[in-house]
Subunit: 426 residues, 2 copies
């Protein structure tokens, strides 16, 4: 599996025109992808990308181009070695290490290599992962900086313990799919009427959880939360998401004001870098029955490890493209399983739903063995641009069956939304 | 002070040819700068840069170019607002937030703006900072995510308390300079003879502290540490620096083996992201009389805040170009003063000595009020490329007197070392 060419694209969707995706920190995102295609010696392709929200997407693409010489002409059969090579170049790691733009770029390349490998094996990625042995899974992980929380031996034990139930869970997954929740009703730029209408529709569509964006104005948030609770009734979970807006004391004050309407979790209450602040917030809001969730901006396994060590989160939210792709997400799934904390991936954006479903299904079948309190974010945007879009019915992701990582964007979309010269940007 | 143009440069020095700068994680760095010049409406210039070690410097430069439209045509008189604008663009922050390549780029631009402001005021930067009122200093800081450790009011109190001694400390600084230590003897690529020779020379030159790189091979390190201790005698401090090489248990094992030769601090024992690991290591090595230092790769004030909150470090090592320039370093100096932890800047590289001397002198005169256990790293490399190079005599940085931030590289060096088309790279 030798790579003979790397193609990169800057693809942007003008989502800011409709305020889709608006929240307290991101008022006008243009959902974008720094997109990469790996071509092997048989001219087979693996597609991957990292997600951004507009400006700066060109820097992420430039970063992929900077890493490309470490890929072209190289064999990528050993995907563990491949991922470590991309994240540990002795000069490039100065720009991180393992964070920010260079890590986003590594994610795009690593995800593309997994897409290629799964396609060559003729399997959807989640199944390709399930069919690896525990030792093979553990070899995919960069173990540096993890041994104070989890060792390779413990990880193997954990994966071995999950093996007896794999066959039953494969059946259940095929029958039930994987639980989804929807953020579609809750964007901050939507008015009350649209919020209520979409919240009711979400319940009608079978979702057991919705999510509201909060954090710009407290009285607005209380009103919106009350309207949402009335719209969905008592049994549907409502998560709230502050997108890093608060310091510790503001987070506690705000969550306390929303608590009468029973938020299921508070997501990103503060900086994703702030382990100790999350721990302090969690301690304060647990008596109110509110969980703490974070992860979409958590830069790598080292911060996730500490969030778990410090009992700072109730919910781990992996992102498919921020950490170093499939490999680092395997590490995070193993850490979460060790600490017994459920993983509920961040999705939405462009193509994130397509990617994370594979990781959660692998987690269920072969790692944690459970869907209890686990659910994948779902946003009904931009799926039409993918060749193998997610299928969400009755509040559940249906199992993808096509080979690969569901990461391939349609050629027509790559052309139409290429930035700045595609027709969508004329 | 309206910016009418931004020029950027990719400048690289082929330092890997001599193994200068070699350590356990960075075997062959080519010291580099993503360099920026701001030009104001009077055609006055401010120069700034961020430091990298080679590959990827083009990505840092591309990131500066991405931020440039937020600078051109804008007034930058309010340097607090300027810094917050560059670090909080709602789309660009997705690429961090406040870390990695985009944060390095912000640092270059922010440092250039401070150079311009200090030049316009006719003062060296350290003095320009000393002459700000406490309220002005506090306005330079981005206070988001700090309030659980330090509030603006507490910072003003702290600066007010330092004011009575300013005049005396200005005199002392002029007489004594600011203490320096040298890393020149200790690069991992140097043989024993060169190590011993340079260590003796450092003592002869008046340095009270040297530093050795460790972490590649334990028996080599024990031998080198023993040789260095013999060379410098009992009274000179020897710091050791692992450049993030270890997990917790390896760090403790390694430091324990070196302890008989009395290392003054262990620097970067593990990942710069790992607050809890530093805390665990510190707890284990304190009984051995060894301090824990980190910071050159710490991404922002939020991680520094937690290192202090968790009692994870004895020494805070700021870097002039990794966090968001002068502004974020002011925040870190204030946090360190609040927690009573000394700041000993990271330097070396290219131009880092030139920059950090200003920050430490400001710290001494107007913030912490002390040089006890404080010392600035010094490496005798690449100063000849600067118009206003540092002067280190008898183990002390002498006070810079020329207006600006000492950040201006000679035009001839910008040309000769421009990458990839300058003559040094032919």
């Amino acid at each position: 599996m030798t790579i003979i060419a790397v193609r990169t694209y800057d693809v942007r969707f003008p989502t800011s025109r409709e305020l889709d995706g608006s929240d307290a920190m991101n008022p006008d995102p243009d959902y974008s992808a720094a997109y990469v295609v790996l071509v092997d010696e048989d001219l087979r392709e693996g597609h991957g990308f990292t997600f951004t929200i507009g400006r700066g997407n060109e820097v992420a693409r430039a970063a992929i181009d900077t890493l490309a010489p470490m890929v072209v002409g190289r064999d990528v059969t050993d995907l563990g070695e491949f991922a470590r090579r991309l994240t540990h170049d002795s000069q490039i790691r100065w720009l991180g290490p393992e964070k920010g733009v260079m890590h986003l770029a590594a994610a795009a390349l690593i995800n593309a290599a997994w897409d290629l490998a799964a396609r060559r094996a003729g399997k959807p990625l989640w199944r390709f992962l399930v069919d690896l042995s525990p030792a093979q899974v553990v070899d995919m992980v960069d173990w540096r900086y993890l041994s104070d929380a989890l060792t390779p031996g413990e990880a193997i034990d954990l994966l071995d313990a999950a093996r007896p139930g794999i066959s039953d869970r494969l059946d259940l997954l095929g029958q039930n799919g994987y639980p989804a929740y929807t953020t579609t009703p809750g964007w901050l730029g939507y008015d009350d009427e649209k919020l209520v209408r979409l919240a009711r529709q979400a319940v009608g569509d079978g979702f057991a959880q919705i999510k509201l964006k909060v954090g710009a104005d407290l009285s607005d948030d209380v009103r919106r939360m009350k309207l949402a609770r009335q719209a969905v009734g008592d049994d549907v979970r409502i998560a709230v998401d502050a997108n890093q807006r608060w310091d510790v004391s503001a987070a506690i004050e705000w969550v306390s004001a929303l608590a009468p309407y029973r938020p299921w979790w508070i997501e990103e209450p503060t900086s994703p870098d702030d382990i100790l602040a999350h721990a302090a917030i969690r301690q304060a809001v647990r008596p109110l029955g509110v969980r703490v969730a974070t992860g979409e901006h958590v830069q790598n396994r080292i911060i996730f490890k500490q969030l778990l060590q410090a009992s700072a989160v109730d919910v781990v939210q992996i992102d498919a493209c921020r950490v170093a792709g499939v490999n680092e997400n395997i590490a995070i799934l193993l850490l979460a399983a060790k600490f017994g904390v459920p993983v509920c991936p961040h999705a939405g954006g462009v193509g994130l739903c397509e990617l994370v479903q594979h990781l959660s299904m692998f987690d269920y079948v072969a790692v944690s063995g459970s869907v209890d309190d686990r659910t994948i974010e779902y946003v009904d945007h931009l799926h039409e641009h993918f060749e193998d879009p997610v299928v969400v019915t009755k509040g559940a992701y249906q199992v993808p069956t096509a080979p690969g990582f569901s990461s391939r964007m349609k050629e027509s979309s790559l052309t139409r939304y290429s930035y700045p010269n595609g027709p969508a940007w004329h």
